[in-house]
């Protein structure tokens, strides 16, 4: 179907979907996920967003009802308002949400796996990222570009040589801070080969705005080739 045809048939829906899509995509958009962690977080977001929309609308209606039509609103005793509105409703919603979020969190943490995932090391300093590949046979290093294989989990160990930074690739998953003296691990996975933007998310001084990096997810063979040093670009 052509754009014109879509516009003719359901103009509003099409425009809305267009705005939402263009509004949510972007090289750094957490709402345009490209890996399982980011995808389930985005799903969680859309669930919470819809819930919040319904709840805020409901609250607006209730406040309006109480103010404009106290006659109707006073059919419920003050006690019922407080117990059902203040305890039962949020209690039910929050319990469900909390359990879902904790279960999801359990799936995302970098716990040991039977087949240990590939390890890469990200080292932050004011204001660049350098990446090392301890699993690689050659001592490969790349600056501001992280190579990973697509379609499998990768554990990124994040450290810093100076102040606190934060490693974040929004389209692949959540962020983890680089803290002096600590080694933090975040597990990421890119479903498809591609270029994914990353930023430093923790304020780190004068160059904080200019500390981006790129994640290049490759087909496994291509990744192996890079690790073997076959592709010059890796040494950039």
């Amino acid at each position: 179907m052509t754009v014109a045809a879509r516009l003719r048939r359901r103009p509003l829906a099409y425009l809305a979907s267009l705005t939402i899509l263009s509004g949510c995509t972007g090289p750094l958009s957490a709402l345009d996920p490209a890996g399982p962690a980011a995808a389930s977080t985005a799903t969680l977001w859309w669930i919470m967003f819809s819930g919040a929309a319904v709840l805020s609308l409901l609250m607006a209606v209730l406040v309006a009802l109480a103010f404009l039509k106290p006659g109707i609103a006073s059919l419920w005793s003050a006690r019922s308002w407080i117990i059902y509105g203040g305890l039962v409703m949020p209690g039910a919603v929050l319990s469900a949400l909390l359990i879902a979020a904790l279960v999801l969190g359990e799936r995302m943490i970098a716990r040991p796996l039977e087949q240990p995932p590939l390890k890469v090391a990200a080292q932050a300093r004011q204001w660049t990222w350098s990446f090392a590949y301890p699993d690689s046979r050659r001592a490969t290093l790349s600056v501001n570009v992280l190579h990973i294989p697509a379609g499998e989990p990768v554990d990124v160990t994040v450290t810093t040589t100076d102040v606190i930074h934060s490693f974040w690739v929004p389209r692949l998953g959540g962020k983890i801070d680089a803290i002096p003296g600590h080694r933090n691990v975040v597990r990421l996975q890119a479903d498809r080969p591609g270029v994914y933007g990353g930023v430093c998310a923790e304020f780190c001084g004068a160059g904080h705005s200019a500390m981006p990096f790129t994640v290049l997810a490759h087909e496994p063979e291509e990744f192996a080739a890079i690790m073997a040093g076959a592709i010059e670009e890796a040494r950039r």
């Binding site: 949510c24 995509t25 972007g26 090289p27 750094l28 957490a30 977080t41 969680l44 977001w45 919040a52 709840l55 805020s56 609250m59 607006a60 406040v63 009802l65 109480a66 103010f67 106290p70 609103a73 003050a78 006690r79 308002w81 407080i82 509105g85 203040g86 305890l87 409703m89 949020p90 949400l97 909390l98 979020a101 904790l102 999801l104 969190g105 995302m108 943490i109 100076d162 102040v163 606190i164 934060s166 974040w168 929004p170 959540g174 983890i176 801070d177 803290i179 003296g181 600590h182 933090n184 691990v185 933007g197 930023v199 998310a201 923790e202 304020f203 001084g205 004068a206 200019a210 981006p212």
Partner: protein
């Protein structure tokens, strides 16, 4: 009883003579709560203006990608100062001012418990804020973010004076927060109208009580953190330096242990204003009064179990995150209880509309959205994505502007007639509301999306490819609409204050005591004090007002030029004693000035010289006691309504005794955070164990335990003897000597047993623990000597024993923290060895 009572006008003149603050230079001596409260509020609003201008600079910078409006160095100062000013120099002082101004009026009394402390707090706030602003104008403002994360804020990465300005200036301002908190807690508990039991107290009193209680516990961790970081910067004690056994995470824990309760400290008073104002326009009293009180208690405590949700991305295991995530979700429920209590109040009342209600609706809309995004951020996986992005910026502004500014403007329009005695002449408030409301939502709503599309916080420039341009442009346009709205409010308030119609009493038909006053209120508040027989938000100001003005209540006369008000039993509100408050004095001003001199000399690294102003401040503080007390037994005095009561000097537990208790609770929160520090470092800091540990032998510690334990026993003996009209002098002297002996022993332990504190965080924290006890033994000894002087000067008798008894809790506290400190310092080497063996 009208026979001996003066006419209302003569009574007014007599009382005004005593209570009114002077004009001209005498203004510096003002201690009256209305004056101090108004000063706090006006100063806070000026800082709000400055913070708002900085926000405009931020929005101008972010309006387009790759903006070259201001460079990163300046930008970092601008956003750091915006956050710092709004949190520390606007929100908290604004609350303090509101509470200081309103409370005595709502509670039917004449002033707060410690008027001079209130004045001192104001000067500390003003001078501390002035130091920060001066530094900003000089281009040396703090630039490490309002959260001051180490090591970015450590001397290695911020070598200039910028970070010191924050640490010293903010700590200085925080003195005022803690003093205000102590004053408010004690005043609410002890100084109310007779008959106002806690269940009859206007709900605002509960809100302020809970908030002030939270400040007592919540501010000390940050004060400790700031002191430790300043010690690291000034004297190289490595509390946060990873290479030497410190840990950057220690700062984050201390900061957020304060930082999260802070959010509720800001929100609760505003909610208290809503709980006071909304029932007036619902034309019925607040429903679910008890449920709201329970919700407040729950909120107060739960808010101390959320702080790690600011640290979800620092690498803490999932289970610990889950604790904090669940607590963050749970804290929504008490908030929901309050919101539904308000809805139920409207539902069961006869709601009418007026300008304050408009702002309350704005508050409900904005704050509920902020609460919903807050729940989202409490969910760990989502937080990993949204943390440190513009989403959080949006959320926190929804919560703080929604939860504080909107109710505050409602309160402003509600109480402005009370402060100035005028009602609005023009209706600029309506367009102002819509400008603020629309401007706010335009600015911040889109920011949620900006954040989810990957824009981090605190960036000054961003690449055009990121696709954030249009979102940021919308936000910036909204920001300017918002500013226009605030400007219109300023104009409107000015017009009302200058040209508003004069109004004598109670324009809103409210049913709380502050509207029983003539407006604007006289310095003494009530010509005579009311007696309360039902919930104090269901009173009839129209009939009470004239009766009190005619002197038909308690203390409806002027006596000896004394500033008198009544003290009551904490819970029942039964009348207990007459409190004679200290008169107007310059001492708070001079003391705060001396502290400012200390802060400035420290700031410019004149460390030895800084001891001079510190000593002067200390001596000035001692001078505060010169005018208190009586040199002879007085006996009960007449208080009107055919009753008599003792003076507070001659009662068992007057407000000053409770002041000591509350101050010690704040101190204990400080000490608890200090004790936490070495234990936390031992468990998590990378560069442990230290190469050297304490080598003290057992002689000095054993002697220390003996002297520390003996001092409070001697002090108690002195109190007991005094109660039997026998001389306590010998035992007091023994107490002081034992305390000085403890002090010397502590110094010996520090100097001989402990390796140099700059080498490792273990040494530094042990040093800090012992130094804390040195300070406290010194303070306790000063109190003992003070007791001696008071006995010698004739201020103490069996009946007037407060000067001796007030020190007892301090003596006990000094001994207990001394034991704990020495115990921990002795235990740490063992822990270190054991830790290495098991790891």
């Amino acid at each position: 009883m009208s026979g001996r009572v003066a006419t209302p006008l003569r009574l007014h003149r007599q009382l005004n003579e005593i209570w009114a603050s002077g004009r001209g230079v005498k203004r510096l001596a003002a201690v009256n709560h209305s004056v101090i409260g108004t000063r706090f509020m006006i100063t806070a609003l000026i800082f709000f203006g400055i913070g708002g201008l900085l926000a405009m600079l931020i929005r101008a910078q972010l309006a387009t990608s790759r903006s070259a409006f201001i460079g990163p160095d300046l930008y970092n100062q601008v956003f750091t100062m915006h956050g710092t000013i709004m949190m520390f120099l606007f929100a908290i002082p604004m609350f303090e001012g509101m509470a200081i101004y309103l409370l005595p009026k709502l509670l039917g009394t004449r002033d707060l418990a410690f008027p001079r402390l209130g004045a001192f707090g104001y000067w500390c706030y003003l001078f501390g804020g002035a130091i920060l602003i001066a530094a900003m104008l000089a281009g040396a403002a703090p630039d490490s973010g309002w959260f001051m994360y180490t090591p970015l804020s450590s001397s290695a990465f911020t070598p200039g004076v910028n970070a010191d300005v924050w640490l010293l200036g903010i700590t200085f301002v925080e003195i005022s927060a803690v003093t205000a908190a102590v004053e408010l807690v004690v005043s609410i508990l002890k100084i109310r109208a007779p008959g106002m039991s806690l269940n009859r107290m206007p709900i605002f009193g509960w809100y302020v009580l809970v908030t002030a209680g939270m400040m007592v516990l919540g501010f000390p961790p940050l004060i400790l953190g700031s002191i430790l970081l300043e010690l690291e910067r000034a004297f190289d004690l490595p509390f946060f330096d990873t290479a030497r056994g410190g840990d950057a995470l220690l700062w984050q824990h201390l900061f957020w242990l304060f930082g999260h309760p802070e959010v509720y400290i800001i929100f609760l008073p505003a909610a208290g204003a809503v709980s006071t104002i909304l029932p007036v326009f619902a034309q019925r009293e607040l429903t679910g009064y008890r449920a709201v009180v329970v919700a407040l208690v729950a909120l107060a405590f739960l808010s101390f179990g959320l702080w790690v949700h600011h640290m979800f991305a620092v690498g803490i295991p999932h289970m610990a995150l889950a604790f904090f995530s669940a607590a963050s979700a749970a804290v929504t429920i008490p908030t929901a209880v309050q919101i539904f209590a308000w809805i139920a109040t409207l539902a069961h009342g006869r709601p009418r509309f007026d300008i304050p209600m408009l702002w309350i609706f704005g508050f409900l809309f904005v704050f509920i959205l902020g609460g919903l995004t807050g729940v989202m951020l409490a969910m760990v996986p989502f937080n990993w994505q949204a943390h440190d992005t513009q989403f959080v910026t949006a959320h926190l502004h929804y919560v703080l502007v929604g939860g504080f500014i909107f109710p505050l403007v409602a309160a402003l329009y509600y109480w402005l007639p009370h402060i100035r005695g005028r009602v609005p002449a023009f209706r600029l408030s309506m367009p102002a509301f819509w400008l603020v409301f629309i401007g706010f939502n335009v600015t911040f709503f889109m920011m949620h999306l900006t954040g989810l599309r990957g824009m981090p916080r605190r960036v000054g420039t961003y690449p055009v490819e990121a696709g954030w341009d249009w979102l940021n442009l919308i936000s910036s346009i909204g920001g300017f609409i918002l500013t226009m709205g605030f400007a219109l409010i300023v104009v409107d308030v000015f017009l009302q204050v200058r040209y508003g119609r004069r109004f004598r009493r109670n324009p809103w038909k409210a049913r709380t005591l502050e509207w029983a006053q003539p407006i604007p209120p006289p310095a003494y508040n009530f010509a005579s004090l009311p007696w309360i027989t039902r919930r104090a938000d269901t009173l009839e100001p129209a009939s009470i007002g004239p009766e009190l003005a005619a002197g038909h209540g308690y203390l409806g006369f002027a006596r000896n030029g004394w500033m008198e008000t009544l003290g009551v039993d904490i819970t029942s509100g039964r009348m207990e004693h007459v409190i004679v408050l200290p008169r107007q004095t310059y001492l708070p001003f001079w003391t705060a000035l001396a502290v400012a001199a200390f802060v400035l000399s420290f700031l410019f690294s004149y460390y030895w010289f800084s001891l001079l102003p510190l000593g002067i401040a200390f001596i000035l503080l001692l001078c505060w006691t010169r005018v208190t007390g009586l040199d002879r037994d007085n006996g009960p005095v007449v208080i009107g309504r055919e009753e008599i009561a003792p003076l507070h000097y001659e009662t068992h537990r007057p407000p000053s005794w409770w002041g000591m208790i509350i101050a010690l609770i704040a101190d204990a929160a400080f000490y608890g955070s200090l004790v936490f520090s070495p234990l936390f470092l031992w468990l998590t800091a990378p560069a442990w164990p230290p190469s050297q540990t304490l080598k003290s032998g057992m002689v000095v510690p054993a002697l220390l335990v003996a002297t520390l334990a003996a001092a409070p026993l001697c002090a108690r003996r002195a109190v007991a003897l005094n109660a039997k009209s026998r001389s306590p002098v010998l035992w007091l002297a023994a107490t002081a000597i034992l305390q000085f002996a403890s002090l010397i022993l502590l110094v010996i332990l520090m100097r001989t047993g402990l390796p140099a504190p700059t080498v490792h965080a273990y040494n530094a924290t042990s040093f800090a623990l012992l130094a804390y006890s040195v300070l406290h033994t010194f303070l306790a000894a000063v109190f003992s000597l003070f007791g001696l002087w008071r006995v010698w000067a004739g201020y103490v008798s069996a009946r007037r024993s407060l000067d001796l008894r007030i020190a007892t809790p301090l003596h006990d506290y000094t001994a207990i923290t001394g034991f704990a400190g020495i115990g921990l310092v002795l235990l740490l080497p063992t822990l270190i060895t054991a830790g290495e063996a098991f790891r």
